[in-house]
């Protein structure tokens, strides 16, 4: 049966709608780093901050060192380091960098509308 779709008036409404719809979903995140470089350290602290702020209580973040488990790099198709992979919810996204740009991270996590 045809469901009634609320009419989208502007982009802000759309955003609200998306957030509303995905608000309860659990986020599965994996952060791949290559050793404890300054970039890695920044990435870990940045992503933790963002998760606490925007995904409080509904995220699962794991930090993996590629030097320890290099075989994972192939399976996860990692090219850059650090790489944050959003495994759930779909679609899969990769956010590369030290996560210093919060805005971009949020876009990557589908918490912000893509410009």
């Amino acid at each position: 049966m045809k469901k009634k779709i609320p009419e989208i008036v502007n982009s802000t409404d759309q955003f609200e709608l998306t957030v509303e719809g995905s608000g309860s979903e659990k986020y599965v995140l994996r952060l791949y780093i290559a050793g404890m470089t300054p970039k890695s350290v920044h990435a870990i602290s940045n992503i933790k901050k963002i998760c606490e702020e925007y995904l409080n209580g509904r995220y699962d973040l794991e930090v993996i060192d590629l030097y320890q488990t290099p075989q994972l790099a192939k399976g996860e198709q990692i090219i850059a380091a650090p790489t944050l992979i959003k495994k759930l919810p779909f679609p899969l996204r990769r956010i590369i960098g030290d996560m210093s740009s919060t805005e971009r991270v949020l876009v990557g996590l589908d918490l912000r509308e893509r410009k």
């Binding site: 790099a73 198709q77 996204r93």
Partner: protein, 575 residues
């Protein structure tokens, strides 16, 4: 000590053989060992294949495991793609000789958020190399990174690091790159790979496509700088380095029969030189292929192998046609001494055709190669290409001491000796077949335009196709010019009757002479008889006269006595 020093000096750059036919020859032994090589070219020119063959040959022939980092295709796609070229990647992967790793980059999945590097990729490559102990690595095509990662500055810095890392690792690397408009590669990869750059090209001229390879640079090593044609077929990649051939081949003094006794006689009695190049040129229907068939026959009889490239006829057509002049080629095909290759060069392109000829020759190892006709190589205005191709073919055959027999069709009405492609200088023995039109007939004439290294006949022979092969006859050369065919027969008949008449005339004259001699003899006898009779009479008369005068003297003395006359001193002295 000094010996060691010398070795260091003469030792050239260590090289990693590719195992690809021809490529090792023009690179002087392979790609620079432990360094990256850039292979670039347009889409579909065979970059991936060249790289893959490098790994496969390395694994099979040189026992060097290899890693293939595929940025564009998945493992399965690659395996399927190269299986059609005879590479069994599954097997090699199982044996841990080859590792294919697909690097997936999807722009839409990636979000940049801050500083990053490509350590992930380096870790993967490193892990892949270490897991099978790879000596060879292929990155195909690393430019995909530029599509996936927007920050070019980071990327360029990281690529530089990647290549440094690979060099440190001591692996021989092939990096493929798409050809750019201005630069060799779209992203200027040549900037990072400065050791060896190979450009592949795929171009179409006159509807025939040709693949070419050129080594743009090879640091620390000499290399062929020309464009070399290459071919991709069911056995992989092959490059043709023929133009690198020097004119150093040793020649044979052995002679082989042309299959036509009279022709052998014309060629100072023994036929062609083994390993020489022979050209039979002529207008349509002058019997060029028949000469080729005779050579085939003679060679097969000697149990030599013959490779016959038929450019315009199918093998069965040639066999049927040659049967009509009494040459059965089928038996040799069945016994494996004769092999036909029938296809048009325009179908695959000149260079590819040449490569095909090479492969076929290397495969079959013939003593005699026939190309019928070479004029088929010329399509449109590619004369220069055709000549260079024929030149390389001739060189190749000579180098391998293979006798090459080429036929060439000359245009009707054009100069007999003027081939469309000027290859005469490449040819050792040139037989010219021509039509001689006399008395409403077209007859075939053959003469030897040149034949290096032998005292050949300079005469025209009439060339007759009979049901038992080609026959050569002397032509009539007389005050009316050269006559052939029935004109020759007629002229010969006229000559014969003339000869008969002359003979009769001579006999008649001889007879008359004889008669004259006899008459003379008779006359001489008569005169002699007459003379004898006369002389007899004269003698008789003389003796009578003597007697008479004696008597007269006596009478006088008697008278004197009777007259008592004194003796006159004067008279006594007369006594």
């Amino acid at each position: 000590m000094s010996k060691n020093k010398m070795q260091v000096q003469t030792q050239s750059l260590p090289k990693s053989p590719t195992g690809i036919k021809g490529l090792d020859e023009i690179t002087g032994g392979g790609l620079p060992k432990g360094r990256p090589t850039l292979v670039c070219g347009n889409a579909g020119c065979g970059k991936t294949l060249l790289a893959m063959e490098f790994l496969v040959r390395g694994a099979i022939e040189f026992n060097e495991p290899g890693v293939f980092m595929a940025f564009e295709e998945t493992e399965n796609e690659l395996t399927t793609n190269v299986a059609s070229l005879g590479f069994n990647l599954e097997d090699l992967t199982e044996k841990k000789m080859i590792l294919i790793e697909h690097v997936h980059i999807e722009r839409s999945e990636i979000e940049e958020a801050g500083e990053y590097d490509l350590e992930g990729l380096l870790i993967r490559i490193n892990f892949a190399i270490d897991s099978i102990g790879a000596k060879r690595v292929v990155l195909d095509t690393i430019e995909s990174l530029f599509g996936g990662l927007p920050n070019v500055l980071i990327l360029r810095a990281e690529l530089r690091r990647l290549f440094r890392f690979l060099k440190e690792k001591g692996v021989t690397v092939i990096i493929t790159g798409e050809r750019g408009d201005e630069m060799l590669t779209r992203q200027g990869l040549e900037e990072y790979v400065s050791d060896c750059v190979i450009v592949l090209d795929h171009r179409v001229t006159e509807q025939a496509s040709t693949r070419r390879l050129r080594i743009v640079k090879y640091r620390g090593s000499s290399h062929g700088t020309n464009e070399y044609p290459f071919l991709i077929d069911e056995t992989g990649f092959s490059v043709l380095p023929i133009t690198s051939v020097g004119l150093t081949h040793t020649v044979s003094t052995e002679r082989i029969s042309s299959g036509i006794p009279r022709l052998d006689t014309m060629l100072s009695g023994k036929g062609y030189f083994r390993g020489s190049s022979i050209l039979a040129s002529g207008t349509a229907g002058t019997g060029k292929s028949s000469l080729a068939a005779h050579l085939t026959f003679a060679a097969c009889k000697r149990k030599e192998r013959v490779l016959y490239f038929a450019l315009e006829e199918s093998p069965s057509q040639i066999i049927r046609n040659m049967r009509s002049i009494g040459i059965n080629q089928e038996q040799w095909v069945k016994s494996g001494l004769l092999r036909f290759h029938s296809n048009r060069p325009t179908f695959i392109g000149l260079e590819s055709y040449l490569t095909m000829i090479h492969k076929a020759i290397l495969d079959f190892k013939p003593e005699v190669v026939i190309v019928d006709p070479i004029s088929s190589f010329i399509v449109g205005a590619n004369e220069f290409e055709a000549k260079s191709m024929i030149m390389r073919l001739v060189d190749f055959l000579k180098m391998n001491n293979i006798t090459g027999f080429f036929t060439a069709l000359t245009g009707v009405g054009s100069e007999m000796e003027g081939l469309k492609v000027n290859v005469s200088s490449l040819i050792d023995t040139w037989l010219l077949l021509r039509d001689i039109e006399i008395g409403g007939e077209r007859n075939r004439g053959l003469y030897i335009l040149k034949s290096r290294g032998m005292a050949h006949s300079n005469q025209i022979r009439e060339f007759i196709l009979t049901d038992h092969g080609v026959e050569l006859r002397d032509v009539y050369v007389g005050p009316d010019g050269v006559l052939t065919g029935s004109a020759r027969t007629a002229k010969e008949a006229v000559e014969d009757s003339e000869k008969l008449l002359r003979k009769q005339e001579i006999e008649r004259k001889q007879l008359a002479l004889e008669r004259k001699r006899k008459a003379l003899d008779y006359k001489i006898k008569e005169l002699q008889d007459e003379f004898e009779a006369e002389s007899l009479e004269a003698l008789k008369a003389i003796s009578i006269d003597t007697e008479l005068s004696k008597n007269f003297l006596q009478l006088q003395r008697d008278q004197a006595v009777s007259r008592k006359a004194d003796t006159d001193q004067k008279h006594t002295s007369l006594k």
